[in-house]
């Protein structure tokens, strides 16, 4: 999967979870950039991303990812579809 496709799909997941079609994520995006992205919504987001890319984050990764770029790297390495 190329980076562009990955970000397009990731972006759609963000739009669905936060119910906001105006969201565009980039590698530098963090929770501070999206209004509703708190620790509770983070759980929903992680689940939705895992289902979209048919992969699992490891427990340690979920709390240590600093931005969308780091998330995308893990996805790129582990995504099954």
């Amino acid at each position: 999967m190329d980076t562009k496709t990955l970000y397009a799909r990731l972006n759609k997941v963000f739009q669905d979870v936060f119910d906001d079609d105006s969201i565009t994520v980039n590698p530098k995006t963090t929770a501070d950039d999206i209004d509703d992205w708190d620790s509770l919504e983070h759980i929903t987001l992680i689940n939705a991303v895992e289902r979209e890319f048919k992969m699992k984050f490891k427990m340690g990764e979920i709390s240590s990812m600093k931005n969308v770029g780091e998330m995308a790297q893990i996805i790129a390495a582990r995504a099954k579809a």
Binding site: V13, V17, F18, D19, L40, I43, T44, A48, R51, M59
Partner: protein, 502 residues
């Protein structure tokens, strides 16, 4: 909303929860407003998010109070001002096996384990009593799901020191309490977790990371199950089934294949599946669910099919049989009118997706489950919790008889010269009586099911009605009760009139 009908796609619901909620709120339907207090032994946020969605879909718009993380016992025993002024209509206690304070160890003797069990249970009963005294509202309590590991292996379930054994014994004590306590309901997470798959359900990473007592994707299933109890308590159960015949109650088309050609009975796997489905429907009838037929068939073919010697259902089991070539939505509206129930309290069961689409588009609020293949029919109907039982009494057992008598009377009516003559022939007597405890359950049921004699349209839970019974201000809420007795076919038909002058 079809997306929230069982079997639903939890992944989709999780992702789209916000837009689904928006759509439900914008559909213009009128909903009951209810206040729900959630006392959690683990994180409850997502549980509330999905509960809210499913309740909106079932006609209830709820506002929620959630206790601080794991403060369920403190909140129940020492309620804050905020909670007291919230005045919940229902209290839900969300505890799981993660909230057991002391499990037995393999070193304990029998007496020690028994006292652990007693003290664990006492903690709960004390809390339920306090909640009932404080809020006089229904209480919903989770039972316990089985643990995700078995220290003693298979022996864990039979040895008194095993956790499986301990939780099972505790569950039994909960059931005893539920059995003798009006307005107290068990949310059976032991079943839901098993049905979901205990291994996935109890994935420990969700507890260790987020303090969720189950995995995130199981939460919609959990909340849906809970929503069924709540909507049932507040009178939002479905009342009747409108059943298609060909390829729904039997395999094949009776008009083409003939009675001998339809597949029902014990011959093949397929015919057994249809037989099992017919038996399930027949048991629903015993629960007081009204059975009707809505089928595109010649009437005589329909009756012949229902008289198949190998079938479990017979024409007599149905209150109304509409077998004709009219549009199904029209037949269902007529059925509803004849039964004097609202069309949205009907579940339409049909294997044909086109018929389902038309009916669900034409009749707002009607439930149209996706009946895809006969082996799934029972699970699809059962899983939707349309008829969730929260009270069950003799009237439910007799309901079909009563509706049948009504239908027969309607037919009889036609043979009298005028209505007056007909009424006289029924030889009715009315008894007007006080509020007696023996009528409590029925009066509560009526206040929830009908607006006809309930001009305030206020709904009462059994606990609230009991308060009204015992209230010293009974003069401001006057209730009349009368019973019609007929010498003919009509049996006892209690009516309940409530009006509030206060």
């Amino acid at each position: 909303m079809q997306e929230l009908m069982y079997p639903f796609d939890a992944e989709f619901i999780i992702k789209k929860r916000k837009s689904l909620r928006r759509t439900l709120l914008a559909d213009g339907s009128k909903r009951l407003k209810k206040k729900i207090a959630v006392f959690g032994g683990s994180t409850t946020n997502d549980i509330v998010v999905y509960l809210d969605l499913f309740l909106l879909n079932q006609g209830i718009e709820a506002v929620f109070y959630q206790s601080e993380y794991a403060q369920y016992w403190q909140d129940a025993m020492f309620p804050s001002e905020e909670l007291l002024s919230f005045q919940p209509d229902i209290v839900f206690i969300h505890t799981t096996n993660r909230n057991i304070s002391h499990y037995p160890t393999v070193k304990d003797d029998k007496a020690t384990v028994q006292s652990l069990l007693d003290s664990e249970y006492a903690r709960f009963e004390q809390m339920w009593t306090k909640i009932a005294e404080t809020y006089h509202c229904p209480i919903i309590q989770n039972n316990f799901e089985m643990p995700f590991y078995r220290l003693m292996g298979n022996k864990d379930c039979s040895d008194y020191r095993g956790r499986m054994h301990f939780l099972t014994a505790l569950n039994e004590k909960f059931y005893e309490y539920a059995d003798k306590t009006e307005g107290f309901y068990i949310n059976d997470i032991n079943y839901v977790s098993a049905s979901y798959g205990l291994k996935a359900w109890s994935d420990p990473s969700y507890w260790n990371m987020y303090k969720y007592a189950m995995c995130v994707e199981a939460i919609p299933f959990f909340s849906f199950n809970l929503s069924c109890i709540i909507k049932s308590v507040f009178g939002k159960n479905k009342k009747a089934l409108a059943l298609d015949l060909d390829n729904t109650l039997w395999g094949g088309v009776v008009g083409d294949d003939g009675v001998e050609g339809i597949r029902i009975g014990q011959e093949t796997g397929e015919s057994q599946s249809y037989y099992e489905f017919q038996s399930y429907i027949k048991s629903l009838k015993d629960l007081g669910i009204i059975l009707t037929v809505c089928s595109k068939n010649d009437h005589q073919n329909a009756i012949a099919g229902l008289n198949h010697p190998e079938g479990a259902l017979k024409p007599d089991d149905f209150i109304i049989i509409k077998a004709n070539w009219e549009n199904k939505d029209r037949n269902i509206l007529e059925t509803a009118a004849e039964l004097n129930i609202l069309p949205d309290s009907i579940v339409f069961v049909d294997d044909n997706p086109a018929e389902r689409a038309i009916v669900s588009a034409q009749i707002p609020g009607i439930a149209v489950p996706e009946m895809d293949s006969v082996e799934n029919y029972i699970m699809t109907l059962d899983g939707n919790g349309f008829f969730e039982v929260t009270t069950f009494n003799e009237d439910d057992l007799k309901r079909n008889e009563m509706y049948k008598a009504n239908a027969q009377r309607a037919a009889q009516q036609a043979t009298f010269a005028d209505y007056h003559e007909y009424l006289q022939s029924l030889d009715m007597t009315a008894v007007i009586d006080d509020f007696l405890p023996v009528y409590l359950q029925r009066i509560t049921q009526l206040s929830n099911k009908s607006n006809q004699f309930n001009v305030t349209t206020k709904r009462y839970t059994p606990t609230e009605m009991e308060t009204v019974f015992e209230s010293s201000e009974i003069s401001s809420v006057t209730m009349g009760w009368c019973r019609l007795l007929s010498a003919k076919k009509m049996r006892k038909m209690p009516l309940c009139c409530t009006w509030n002058c206060g």
